[in-house]
């Protein structure tokens, strides 16, 4: 719903912008479009709001649609900046400059009333491949395990499959969710459910009073320190992407986009990342990974 509204809004903006000549150099209005990961979208939106306050003639639109879309749009030029919440694979890296925005962890999450306090990697693998189907099999109460997974293409699914060392298609789920918020609501509403989700989003929901519990992974608690240090095994970088300046045929780098990226990775907005549960960067922020 939100995505389609945003799309509609940006289509309108494109239309109106096209009418009064937004591409004109003299026009005071400058529009920046970010597309990609729905994990980064809330952070990018809040950063954009603050950037717009400081630069009233700039208008920033953020559309989610998944990391793959962000990578594709950054390369094709459909967006000024792409957002990816997973490391780029092989040829995806070609021609794109990657700028780290923050870190996030992906952790397994259960309902707060579930007595389970920790699950071994072996248990998680057995649960997600359908070998163990009751909580009593892994030391919990006698109840069915409702396995919640994510739709194909979501970065969380890829990360977890990689961590469990299985193909995404090997996961035997009972519920497949798309958006993160819907995913959390599924677990909030079912004491027998287990899912994996962004630590940031789960922490934020817990702060707001949702009955959720984040499980440690391989004995490591999901904290800012363990995620930034890389000790937490399922950490991922949140990356902004734009066409590589060295690449042939690329227009001159847009100073407004440069300013936004510098602002987004600077110290003025690290409180926003913390507010959403993400782990802000250390000082060497603009370093290309």
């Amino acid at each position: 719903m939100r995505v389609s509204l945003l799309t509609l809004a940006s289509a309108l903006v494109l239309f109106v912008g096209g009418c009064d000549g937004a591409t004109d150099a003299e026009s005071p209005e400058r529009r920046i479009l970010l597309t990609g990961s729905s994990t980064i979208a809330p952070l990018a939106t809040e950063i954009a709001a603050r950037f717009e306050q400081a630069n009233p003639n700039v208008r920033i639109d953020v559309e989610s649609g998944g990391s793959s879309r962000g990578i594709r749009d950054a390369r094709s030029g459909a967006a000024d900046v792409g957002m990816s919440s997973r490391a780029l694979r092989g040829e995806e890296e070609e021609g794109l400059a990657q700028i780290r925005l923050a870190f996030d962890g992906v952790a397994f999450v259960v309902h707060a009333d579930n007595p389970i306090g920790e699950l071994s990697d072996e248990d998680l693998l057995a649960i997600y491949t359908g070998e163990r189907m009751r909580w009593s099999d892994v030391g919990g109460e006698d109840a069915p395990i409702v396995v919640v997974s994510r739709a194909e293409g979501r970065s969380e699914l890829d990360l977890v499959a990689e961590y469990l060392d299985i193909e995404p298609s090997a996961i035997r789920a009972d519920v497949v969710d798309g958006e993160t918020q819907q995913n959390l609501k599924t677990v909030i509403g079912n004491v027998n459910a287990i899912t994996y989700t962004s630590v940031g989003a789960a922490e934020f929901a817990i702060l707001e009073g949702s009955p959720l519990k984040i499980l440690p992974l391989a004995g490591v608690e999901a904290t800012s320190a363990s995620i930034r240090s890389g000790e937490f095994p399922l950490a991922r970088p949140l990356i902004l992407l734009r066409p590589d300046a060295d690449r042939d045929g690329v227009a001159d780098p847009d100073p407004t986009v440069d300013a936004y990226i510098e602002f987004a990775t600077g110290p003025d907005v690290s409180d926003l990342a913390i507010g959403l549960g993400y782990v802000p960067l250390a000082a060497d922020a603009t370093e290309t990974p």
Binding site: M1, V3, S64, G65, G66, S68, R69, R72, A143, P144, I145, V146, A151, E152, G153, R154, E167, P168, S169, A173, D174, V175, V176, D177, G178, Q182, K185, T186, I188, G189, N190, N192, A193
Partner: protein, 351 residues
């Protein structure tokens, strides 16, 4: 509108009925047969009333004069835009689906070893079944319920209650589908989970129930409009001849309104098949043939919504192919509706 509830006989027993005045029990069987004969006569009188079906070709004076011509051109443009949008949409979906239909082929789209586009598996069948099961399940619940609400509102409810009922149904029609989805996810799904052996509420049943709540206004409003269009002379004649209210409803009003109810049902099925957001939130989205209503399903629309943002090339085209098959299904549905209406009209033709 003289066919309001108030103008109909209040109750069976309050109807003046000479043969019942004595109250003698031995007359009961005679009374019954007398009533049947009289009511049959009443039905014949009411049903033979002509129902003109007028159309531009036969019922209006020819188009003449400046104003008429301008109006005709304006209205032709409206019609052309309406048809054009529909044709363009269908054409676009077909065009986008073409690579999948060509490369993968309909055989594999209906008979592959599962749905896993990254592994090159493109079986749409479980999702077609999911869409059909959710839509038909909700139809079985919605049509009797919706027609019941409409009949109650028209023939049994006191006027203030009927007005309130109409307002409530209109309100239900205005609730956005994402709100139904949220309600389903936070209220209905946990409730169903407490009854399910599988321990989860996201299921075909949850989808059916949410679709029923969402599409109830479609059937109720269509049936209500069709019942309101039943000629008041027929109802008045039936009342004057002393028919019981239940007979007026079942033998006169409902048969006369059947065409409208069929149309309402068709719109309901189409809406249920097309619904995306709410079913995405409550159905569980597992690509698997369901054995019971407690198991999760994925509908074709939910599949498109879940994966379109992440799909490339053939995967994307396969999603459009799913949409294309949905279009064909709705087309088939509309044909069925036309055929049913034609059949009904033929059965009700003046003798």
């Amino acid at each position: 509108m003289t066919s309001d509830a108030a103008s109909l006989p209040e109750q069976d027993d309050r109807r003046p009925d000479a043969s019942n005045v004595g109250g003698a029990s031995h007359a009961a069987s005679d009374t019954a047969s007398a009533r049947t004969a009289r009511e049959d006569f009443a039905l014949q009188v009411s049903c033979s009333a002509a129902m003109p079906d007028c159309h531009a070709d036969d019922a209006f004076p020819p188009v003449s004069g400046h104003l008429d011509r301008v109006a005709r051109w304006l209205l032709r443009s409206c019609a052309a835009i309406g048809v054009g949008v529909a044709v363009l949409c269908c054409g676009f979906v077909a065009y986008e689906a073409m690579p999948a239909l060509r490369t993968i082929g309909t055989g594999r789209l209906f008979g592959d070893d599962g749905w896993s586009p990254r592994s090159g598996l493109y079986d749409l069948t479980p999702m077609l079944v999911g869409s059909a099961a959710a839509a038909l399940g909700s139809t079985l619940l919605t049509v009797p319920l919706g027609v019941g609400v409409a009949v109650f509102g028209r023939f049994y409810a006191p006027r203030p209650l009927a007005t309130a009922l109409n307002a409530a149904v209109a309100l239900l029609a205005g609730i956005p589908s994402v709100v139904f989805g949220l309600w389903g996810l936070t209220v209905l799904v946990p409730l169903l989970a407490s009854f399910s052996d599988l321990g989860q509420g996201q299921s075909l049943l949850a989808g059916m129930l949410v679709l029923t709540a969402m599409t109830l206004p479609v059937v109720t409003l269509a049936a209500g409009a069709a019942l309101a269009a039943v000629p008041s002379e027929q109802l008045a004649a039936a009342s004057a001849l002393g028919l019981r209210r239940s007979l007026i409803v079942t033998r006169i009003a409902l048969p006369a309104a059947a065409g409208g109810i069929v149309t309402g049902t068709t719109l309901q099925v189409a809406r249920a098949i097309g619904e995306t957001m709410a079913v995405l939130m409550v159905c569980g989205n597992i690509v698997r043939m369901p054995d019971t209503v407690w198991e999760p399903i994925r509908t074709l629309t939910a599949n498109i919504a879940l994966e379109m943002g992440y799909a490339d090339d053939l995967h994307r085209s396969a999603l459009f192919a799913g949409g294309f098959f949905l279009l064909l299904a709705v087309g088939g549905l509309l044909t069925l509706e036309q055929a049913t209406r034609a059949g009904l009209a033929w059965r009700r033709r003046p003798a």
